[in-house]
Structure formats: structure tokens, C-alpha cells
Symmetry: C2
Subunit: 359 residues, 2 copies
């Protein structure tokens, strides 16, 4: 169901394909971008009388199965693709579609194959995917850029206003350097499927498709074609003002400030940093409603004084992704991007936020 | 907040009125139809420096108070109605409005006054309010009709397709016969406020207003003007076919059937009752998706055979309102309304559903 969209230009894709062989039942859903294949192996709970294929309206089939009166049901395709589902004293007759007309799944060769831990991949997705662009004007930015080399995975996402980069070490990585871009929407669904998976998952790749194999489930996604912008040079390698905060306190202050800034046209907070007074003040303003001033508790504050304005929502999502008690913000100039990193930064997780010019 | 709407033609009503006197703080919200007044009595947790009134933007004021960093805050109205809210290191300055421009609450005299138990009133509302009309074409049907006489409350709601009537005995009812119609939307909010109230609540009434007093809270609603249609004559006093069902089983069967009927233009299930075979079958159909046949388990079935079609959603909401294990459906003719009552019916709770002509 996670791959099936009710809005599609290919009517048969609103259906779920069922393929019954002597080995078991294969269910397939697809929206062209993502395809998911799930296999139910034959056992005492799946008894097979005869083989065959059918496509059934996905939403109904799933709702019907959920709502059947008994835990067991019988399933029989009759003439004219009509399918009878019987359970207890309930009997459904559902109009099916010819499985021969269902699009074929992409072919992904086994030449390029490696493993990743499910939990690690899920974290990697959740720590970057929120920063992809939702605008189709630059399609390449709607995906997360993965580079795998030297037993290391680097994932980067940016919508050109903010960027999130996460690097993780892996074991038994592929020999070649891999460089690919997975659409953000595919990753959102993959992350949901991975929510309970702590095992390793197999990954295969061809030029424009990637296949994740998770137990009896195969998750196919197309890859975005094109060259991802060079992002390494965007990350500043030095800073002139560094502040370390308690994450949850600055998060709450941003939440209060954005109550007002969300009402104003440009949704911007202003941070005034005064190292001499050891003081950092956050200002939010809505011409109609009013304004707010938050004196922030800083753990450490070194460097030059600075005034900088930025979208509070970007910092809020950055903090949500870190999940650490303390974060460090590193600034250079009022109009240059600043970075946010976990306090104990090993260079493996960094977020970049572009300030907003307010004058 | 329950009375305040963000969409209003009277801008000051998007605000919450605060009146601070030496006795305490009164908060008022209103959308013209409903007004709610809540009093916070002066005590150690409410310290008053000076009296005064202000209207603040309700949504912001409520969100700000929720998100303040400390449990205590100070509140000060300065020049030009600007209001300072301080808590910990957070300081808000909110633009207020002049409380003198806030509409006055309706006057409700104490001449007509009685008490009802909070839990009883909440049940009465939940058992009838779902059946009010949502169409403004007959405004009188958008309310619940209450008649209080002889220590008895009768509540009736109908949208002309189905009707719900609940009668409850009360103690110390008013001496006069009372007959009034409360808008369904007011009752929805009142029922939410009553969700934790098991005490008696005071009710006062004038020609076009009703006031419920619940502890420190006053809930005002306008009454609908006009004459409610005569509904007693709609309830049939005899039947020719009676069936008693297990409520949850027929509810599940209706849920399955409506998966399909919701897809068809007229959303109708068909019930075929055959007393000779002691069999009742429910049919649902969608020309596109397919059909379903449910053989219903009946506890008792007496009378004549019958085929009848109706909207399954009406029977589902009726069953939800009853909350009893067994219900009895009483039919006369295929095109005459049928009633649904709890099996142990003492005449105090009855629902009426109008069938649909399908030929």
C-alpha cells in the first residue's frame, strides 16, 4: 500500500497485483517511482489450491481484508476476473483487472550489491531527508545525494536555503565509489518500512534504479538523473563566533519566537550575540501581533559580536535531527551561512543554514 | 477558546477578553452564537497588583501561555494597550484591543432556573446531537428540540432522513413546561466541556438565550427561534417484522457493506428478511468495485418477510449512540420508516430511519 497512490494516470496502478504460485503469494504495489513487492511464503496459514494472477483495487482489497469477520478467508478468482473473498458469513465479489496488463518491475542486476544496517539507514534518512527541496524547479535537489567510498557513506540534502550532511562509517562497503541520488519521497516511504528493521538489508543498484531487499520485501526506487551540485565547498572550514547551547532550551525559545514570526511576511528571527556581556538575545516580531525577546542561556560563547537573521524553522528542524543535548553554532559573517553541529562534533554530522538579509 | 472562531466578521471576537478585578480574573470568548466566561478566583497562584481590562488575540495568547518557559508569568498592560507577558528570560509584547469595544454578554434572567446532572446532559446530547441537520435550508432542524415537563426531559433531533429521541427522568425539574431548541454546534462544544463534569449544572433561560453554569464557567448559547416540527406522530406504534441483533456484529457487517456502497452514487444497503428460513441477508453493491453479501446472525426474528433498502451510515450512527449489546429493529412496510431500539426497551430511547426507494 505504501507504493500505491490513489491519484495516478495509469489506472491499473491503483490496484495491487497478486501472484499465486506453488511457493507462495507475491503482492506488488507501484506508483512508477516506487514499487514494493512483498512475498508471503506458503505455510499452514497460506494454503494454495491453484496458481494464478489478478489485480484487485488496492484500497478496497486492503480495507476488506482488515474488516473481515474471521481471521481466515478464502480467495477465488472466477470467470471475467471476478474475485470471491469469503470469510465467516461474509462474501465479497470484487471486479479484478488482468494481471498481464500490470507494468513489469524494473530489472536491477546483482552486479553491484552491498549491505547496510537497517537502523543505520533509517537514521541516515531521517537526519537528511527533511532538508530536500519540495520545489520541482530544481528536480535534482528533491533527492538525497549519497556517496559511498572507503567504507563510509555520506548523505547530503539541501533545498539551497539549508543543508544537512551526515557521514557514517560502514563495514564491508562496496569496492567501487558509488554516487547516486534517491528521491526524497522514496526515502520517506523507505524510512517508514524500516521503522522496525534492525537487521542488515541488501542493496542492489543499476543505472537508474535502486533495490532494497528487507527480508521478504523488495523496495524499488528510481534514482534521480543528473549531477548533484558540489556541496563540500559550501561548508566553511573556520568560524569567528562559536556558541554552545542546550538544545531543548533554544528549541523552546525558537518555538515561542516563531509564534510571532509565522505571522509576518518573512518569518525571520534575529540573533544578537554579545560575547563581552556573555549574552545572546533572540528577537521575533510580527508587525500586527507584537514582538518577543528571549535572553538565551549559553553554555559557552567565544569570538566576535554579531547580529544575524534567519528562518527559525530551519534551526528547529536541524535541532530535531540532531537529538543531542548540546549543539554548537558557528558563525563567520552576518550574511554568510552558519553551521550547527552536535557539541561533541566528530565532523560526521553538520547542518548549514543561510541567513536572511533584513535590511 | 472553544467559543472563539478564527473566522468572524467581528474582528474583536478573534480576541479573548480579560477582566481583572480585586476578586479575580474573568476570561471571555464568544462567536456571537456561543459565549463562554471562565473565572479564576484570586489566590496564591493569582496575585493582583491593579485592576483593568484588555482584549488579546486569543490564539496567540493561548499559545504563548502554553509555551512559556516557567510555570509563573507576569502580565502587565502598558500604554497604547500594549501588554507585556514575562516568564523567565522570555518577554512578549502583544498588541491588545480596547475591552470597552468587546460585545456585551447576553442578559439571562434568573426567573427560569433548574438543575441537571452534567453526565446525564452529556449523554442526552451525545445520543441525539449526531442526528441534527447540517443543511441550512431548514435552520430549525440544525438544533436539538428539548421538552421538559413532569420531571422528564425529552430530546429529539432529526435531519428528516433519520431521527433520534431520548427521554430521561429528572429530579426537581422546573414547574413550567419548557420547550426550546439549542443549535447542534453549541451542544457539540457544551458536550466537550461537560466531558469531565459529573456534578449538577445550573440552567437559566430567557426567550432566546440559555445559560449553563458549571462551577466557575458560564456557557451561553442562543436558542433557535421557530416551531419544531411535530415528531411524535412520526414514531410508528406497531410493527409487522421485528428482529433482534447483536449490535457489534451488525455494525461490522454494515462497515464491510459500506466499503462498497460508499463508492456508489446512492449509498444504500438492502436487507432481505425471511422469517420462514430464520434468515436475514444484507447486500451492498458498487457497480464499479463489486458487491458483498452478509448473512446476519439474528437473535430473534418474528413477523412477515420484507425487503428494505436504507443508508448504512444512519444505522451505524444509531448503533454507536445506543452502546448496548443488543438492538431490535421494527419494520412495517418497505417504504415506511423503521425504528431501532435497545433490546430492553423502556420506550426511553428510539431511533427512526427512513428507507430509500431503489426501484
Amino acid at each position: 500500500m505504501r507504493a500505491i497512490s490513489s491519484k495516478t494516470t495509469i489506472p491499473i496502478l491503483t490496484g495491487i497485483k497478486l501472484e499465486l504460485s506453488t511457493e507462495g503469494l507475491i503482492l506488488t504495489g507501484s506508483n512508477s517511482d516506487i514499487s514494493i513487492k512483498s512475498t508471503v511464503i506458503k505455510d499452514t496459514e497460506l494454503q494454495i489450491q491453484s496458481e494464478g494472477n489478478i489485480v484487485l483495487p488496492a484500497r478496497f482489497f486492503s480495507e476488506i481484508v482488515k474488516k473481515l469477520p474471521e481471521s481466515i478467508f478464502t480467495f477465488e478468482v472466477k470467470e471475467n476476473l471476478q474475485t470471491v473473498i469469503k470469510s465467516g458469513s461474509s462474501e465479497f465479489l470484487i471486479n479484478g483487472l488482468d494481471a498481464d496488463n500490470y507494468p513489469r518491475l524494473p530489472q536491477v542486476s546483482k552486479n553491484l550489491q552491498f549491505e547496510l544496517n537497517g537502523k543505520m539507514l533509517r537514521n541516515l534518512i531521517n537526519q537528511t531527508n527533511f532538508a530536500v527541496s519540495t520545489q520541482e524547479s530544481r528536480p535534482i535537489l528533491t533527492g538525497v545525494h549519497f556517496v559511498i567510498s572507503n567504507n563510509q557513506v555520506k548523505a547530503v540534502a539541501t533545498d539551497s536555503h539549508r543543508l544537512s550532511q551526515r557521514i557514517l562509517q560502514i563495514e564491508n562497503g562496496p569496492d567501487n565509489i558509488l554516487d547516486f541520488i534517491i528521491p526524497g519521497k522514496s526515502l520517506t516511504e523507505l524510512s517508514r518500512i524500516l521503522s522496525d528493521v534492525d537487521d542488515n538489508i541488501q542493496i542492489q543498484m543499476s543505472e537508474n534504479q535502486i533495490l532494497f531487499t528487507i527480508g521478504n520485501l523488495s523496495f524499488y526506487s528510481r534514482l534521480l538523473e543528473g549531477t548533484y551540485p558540489e556541496t563540500d565547498r559550501l561548508l566553511p572550514d573556520s568560524s569567528t563566533t562559536d556558541i554552545t547551547f542546550n538544545s531543548s532550551k533554544i528549541f523552546s525559545a525558537l518555538e515561542r519566537a516563531s509564534l510571532l514570526t509565522h505571522e509576518s511576511r518573512n518569518n525571520v528571527v534575529r540573533l544578537v550575540i554579545n560575547p563581552e556581556l556573555h549574552q545572546v538575545v533572540l528577537y521575533g516580531n510580527s508587525p500586527e501581533v507584537g514582538n518577543v525577546e528571549e535572553i538565551l542561556n549559553v553554555d559557552t560563547l567565544v569570538g566576535e559580536s554579531l547580529e544575524i537573521s534567519f528562518n527559525p524553522d530551519y534551526l528547529k528542524s536541524a535541532l530535531r535531527a540532531f537529538k543531542t543535548d548540546q549543539i554548537t553554532m558557528k558563525f563567520t559573517q552576518p550574511l554568510r551561512p552558519f553551521t550547527v553541529v552536535p557539541k561533541e562534533n566528530d565532523g560526521q554530522f553538520v547542518q548549514l543554514i543561510t541567513p536572511v538579509r533584513t535590511f
